[in-house]
Symmetry: D4
Subunit: 252 residues, 8 copies
């Protein structure tokens, strides 16, 4: 610990990095960032932007970059993302900012991404499922997992799914996102022999709308599925990552 | 009317038949039987047994036989069916009693079934959907519609459905019964060009059980379906009959 | 196929038309347009605008016009419709744009509408049910079905319905839209002998508001109804079209 | 009070009668009987049997008879009614026991029924609504209100209602009991100019079953209704009594 | 009828007045106005503004004024009320416009209000219940019923209710509006012997918020209440009017 | 620990007592009994009988007696209580068995009850709330808290509550049990200045029945209440005990 | 009373102060302020700002300051708080305004805060629980209770809770605020021996979102908790105050 | 295929075995048994007994034994299990019948269990979670996965979980079963770095009972979980098997 403090004293380590090293998390005005999460849980902590101010999101993302050289922000609004981009343009002008839908991934040149011999497949029923799948996709990629994504294979036109079956079967784990009646994960899980995680999407209207029919249908599925909450692309991606990581480790 | 009353007087017409002729319904202790329903609605009245005593069911069925030469009893318990069978053995020893699941159809030799050039297809996902499909089937047959039934084609094993596609495509209307996540009507409706009526079945457990997930999923379907209430095989059969009858009439 | 590709090469066929011909659908940035749906399902694909950007709606509508000479857009906002109208004014200056409520139908002069010997009746309880009925009406008309519409016959003043009974009885299929307690389809279905499709409308407030009481009431109806989801005018219109088309075909 | 106590002392008043006179209620092992309720609220207290033991029901009914010369028991099981009948056969051999469905009214020869110049009309949709209407009917009669009951006028066959319109219009208040979709009170209230109280009945199945669709529909009604809880025949009868009593009083 | 048409011809009757006289309602672009409702139901038709455009509200109100010399508009927004006021300032410069909360009553000098010997009491728990009570109050006054209003007597401070008991007991019917837990109608109904109509108000938050706890509590009340939907001040006022009118008539 | 094991060896301590002393809990076939709970949480562990076999309940109760000289069993069926009584008659013939409703308290002569200078008041609305209040009462008494119980003070007759106000005000904490609309805790909390814990009771029927209206009403209460789950007399009693214990300790 | 009126006459007492003294509450255009609440209930009345206009909030706060020298405003919007601050800057330039989240506490120099020997601990799971905890905290402080607050101890990282256990155990009562799955109060209550009040927070999304999962989880907790409604920080703070006050009083 | 048919002809293959070989499933009166499921999905088909007759269960189990040498029956009643045991005693006297709770596993001596280098950990909160965990356990063992089971580690006593942490961390996948508030999977997932599947158990009572609070809590969990339906031990076991199988394969 003496070393650490000396590193802080001579400026080679920021106080945040030192706190992260010593306690595992960094405390700021915007709350705590759990810098040790990757060690403890195998997946780095993401910043859930909804319900936070743009300032809080920026502060947490800066802390993430300072301590882990990458940041993953989910459920971000346009205003939050703009604030984030302009802050990073200052602090990390060389950072790569990868925005997909409402999810943003940032990595500095110093970031050394993990690499694992495992693939997560992600399938969606239609356009509206895209942002939820984006969230899952970036979580997996952030953890070094290869992602194979297959869009627009809704059950209303069955041959689209059958066409993509070989790709779906090659993944180690599948994440299947679907709104409305949410039948896609059931149909897919009946055709493959890898674990399928269903993600209900909050589309639909009237009775069972906002993803409730999809959630109920996936929980009642007559094939084998596990499920996450409505629109919980992050959780699905993180769970797939935990599974894929063990598989990848076993392959080494 | 004079004639009618004279026919009652000389015994060639029972009072119930005369009341049915004059008012369209017959009033007894067990309630009214709507003998004119077939004329008015195109489908004969059925007797919904649930919540009635065995005596009430028997009385209504006897009235149906007396005025229309056939009786259709739905949601009947074993006790109700036994009472019905022993009563009919006395009153109409030559009647044919056709019991499927909880539905019973009785017809006397004098019954002259209608015949229509139209076919209703009925598909089920699994064994548990059987009694609901039976209810629909007997309603259609009672109205003279041909029925083509395809069982056990649940979405968990997709090739079973694909195998039966030609039969499904030949029907004029399809009734598709499914419990659990209720995805079968959606998958079928994506593969055929005839109207599909979805019937949610009260299987399943936990969240969305008792047919609620199936109902929500069918209402949210991304293809074209109309839907009836959970386990409402009778309603689906009657609606399919109304459709098929017009088609049959147009073909003549 | 050689021919097709040559037609593309010499410009007599656009790439989208060729893709539509070959694969049945056209893929663009805004998602897929299922150009073969009319062949497969008997009703042309509609573009569900809610949840899409104005740009995506315009792109899909242009693809629909390019491949099928007509486009049907449902649940469109004012902003989406304006974008659509200004785009079409450029690309298809001679096209006819028919806007009713939140539904828009566009057809080019080259469009050869189908014509069928069948009528769909549409009844509404009150003014608030209008846009949902409009959606159903345009779907039927798009498929060449004659529509007879009867507005403002809510059950609170029964004689309005009784006055229109003859018109309602002449249709081949009836679509009945009603909000609040949703009793109109039940009352109508008790008076006619054609199939009735109930459409719950999201009016009402407090307990059972937003169409939930109407949906529950239609599913519980003591007459014969099939039902679609709350505000699902498109689904009701498409289902009525599928029924009416078979009837029309049988009449030929 | 001295007088009262002397009357107890010489046996011309029972302790229960004296307690009822002094405090308004009588306390026993089975709970309190509110003997003064008729004075305070204008309707005598009823004994809600569900959830009580047969012994408790008997004790409360005996107290009611002792202090008010009549007893009204609602939601009674066969076992409770048998216990009640055998107890009363002993204690009040001359009492008249009037049982309808699950409701029982008992009155001793000493009972001097009130009489009011007002009529409550009660209408039901079908057989299953009978016991709920019985409950309402006995409450009104217990309070001396004339009841005109019209059964089996469900909305599926509208002419049955229209046939009975004159009778319905003559009542001062109407109670309308209906299960399934519960549309009857709405239809009736659109045809009469007296207050209508809707009583949802716990029939039906699937979505909106057990009276929920009926309750929601009555609360959403597009005419003027007030409503009581599902199966609350007693409450409807008591509310109608409070209204009719004021009308009757105004007529004197 | 000849006379009527001649009156139209010579301009002494507007077409709308003639249509109202002949058919009972007037049809315009904004829908139908039921001018005969007062005759048929005893309460004049109100215009439910929510979900209508300002133009539609103005048109319907003008029709109401033209045919019945008064107009009652409920659930109106500020924008709708401003449009209404400016329109009436032109068409009926002498009309009296009475706005309370979101309800507006307009009457021309030609309006001859009915007068009845009956009183409706209206009680509220707190400030938030005000607009709902206003709606009920204006309906009663529009029908010529005297209203006695008692505000701010919530159950949290019981002595406020006890203080007002004499006033509450003098009314012929009571309307009691309460949000949150909705206990006020129960407490009041336990203290008076007139009919009480409970109106749940959509206050509250979290579980049971938006009036749901209040509605459930009033339906479960251990005293005698009938209930209307959440915020349905109009329905409560109209039902109280129907009751009070009969009482008033009986007093004459 | 050596001492303990020697005590086991010489039989002066049973193995269960030793395990309880060492680990805080005792493991048997029927699960674990948390003998140290009283130390850790201040209230002894109770045995929740519902869902356990009679044998499991008996085993756990015997363990409780062996290690803490008392046992508290809640939600017990008749069969479970009989098994318990006959087992205890053998093992602890001198034990006192105190059964109230579905709750049973057993104590051996060796039991030295705690005594605290604090009182919990318990009020109920009616007879049906009795067993829930019994559960709360026995928990408090088991912990040495004095209980003052006031029954049958439902809000339908307000003067009963006002009569008991002085007693209610003298308690240190109040538990108020009420079913149906659950207004009693709100009314009581408006009249006293001590903390009130509301316990919804699963009475009622139809909408909001089984305690749901009562729970919602207590959570929405416009006075200050904290609440436990429906029928959770045990939790209310234990929470009141935790509060009263601190007060009692502060008084010493 | 004579004295009071003379004090009003000579201006040494404002009319509002006199009304507060005489009747316990002050009536203004914005409703009643219950100035005597502190005496009656032991906690001063708070002003619930949601659903009130800025003017009403200001008026009520001014009345509170005039009669009790402090004001507590909860659920205030930015606009309401600005209006309040500018009003108070005029009327009470020396007042201290303490704003935390959406709660504001104001006290004049004349305010003599109560002081009690009791501590309430408040724990939160994460940043989003902050404003709810602020509300509880200011209520306690307003009543003179010491508060020890522990933030950011969510169950996802258990050692954070274990680190703070000693502080949590020292409080007399604990308020634990948690959203999402709401497990924190259960985990804390398993580790301490003081009463714990759980406050569900309306975070979360999809199924069980908006605090519903947290509420359900706290009501189902396998340890001893009492609960308040979702986001009801005020109620939790007031209930904790009532408990702590008795403890503080007992300590004196 | 010729060979197969000859094998049937000479009796070395039963017709069922031949059908299983050729079509993948065997059709009997009790429905289809999917003998090829293990190949297709990697987990053998289980027989869901609930809702089937004892005869159907026996027939399906016999078919399973005939074609796969093992049978797994879930949700079986005592009557079904007795029928199964007596049937197997005849047909496969050497078979091993392993019954745990409501799940039964049967294997003939010819059964050659798969063996995989992977471990599934199963944790339960309390006794009531046992049968659900049994179901999951037998599914895993049936597929050759090692199971490490840790019972009775509910969150109310946190040190029990902490004691077992090392075992939990050694598994490749964890299944965590919990009823009531369902917090255990969240707490466990915060302490380990392997994928956790949460299984809500239908314990609890009142609001959120029957597993609903647990399901909602797991879906809202602030750590990473995927979830199955209430009591779906089979689904959790099968999903864990699919994951563990891939891990096991990767290790080889």
């Amino acid at each position: 610990m003496r070393e650490l403090l000396e590193a802080v004293a001579d400026g080679s380590l920021s106080p945040a990095q030192a706190e992260a090293e010593l306690r595992g998390y960094v405390t700021g005005d915007a709350g705590r960032f759990d810098a040790a999460r990757q060690h403890r849980r195998g997946i780095p902590e993401a910043i859930f932007a909804a319900g936070k101010s743009a300032e809080q999101v920026v502060e947490l993302a800066e802390t993430a970059l300072e301590t882990t050289e990458r940041a993953l922000v989910t459920r971000a609004s346009d205003r939050q993302i703009e604030a984030l981009e302009s802050s990073i343009a200052n602090s990390y002008p060389d950072a790569i900012v990868d925005r997909r839908g409402t999810t943003v991934h940032v990595r500095t040149p110093a970031y050394d991404p993990p690499s694992l011999d495992a693939t997560v497949g992600i399938a969606t029923g239609g356009t509206v499922d895209g942002p939820v799948a984006d969230e899952a996709e970036l979580v997996c990629e952030d953890a070094g997992i290869a992602v194979d994504r297959v869009d627009d294979v809704g059950v209303a036109a069955l041959d689209r799914i059958l066409d993509q079956l070989d790709r779906l079967r090659e993944a180690d784990v599948l994440i299947v996102c679907a709104g409305r009646e949410g039948a896609l994960p059931t149909v897919v899980a009946g055709l493959v022999d890898v674990p399928v995680i269903g993600v209900p999407v909050s589309s639909g209207y009237g009775f069972g709308g906002d993803g409730e029919a999809a959630l109920a249908g996936m929980l009642q599925s007559c094939t084998i599925l596990s499920v996450v909450n409505v629109d919980a692309g992050f959780v699905a991606g993180a769970q797939a990552t935990l599974i894929a990581r063990t598989i990848g480790a076993a392959r080494e």
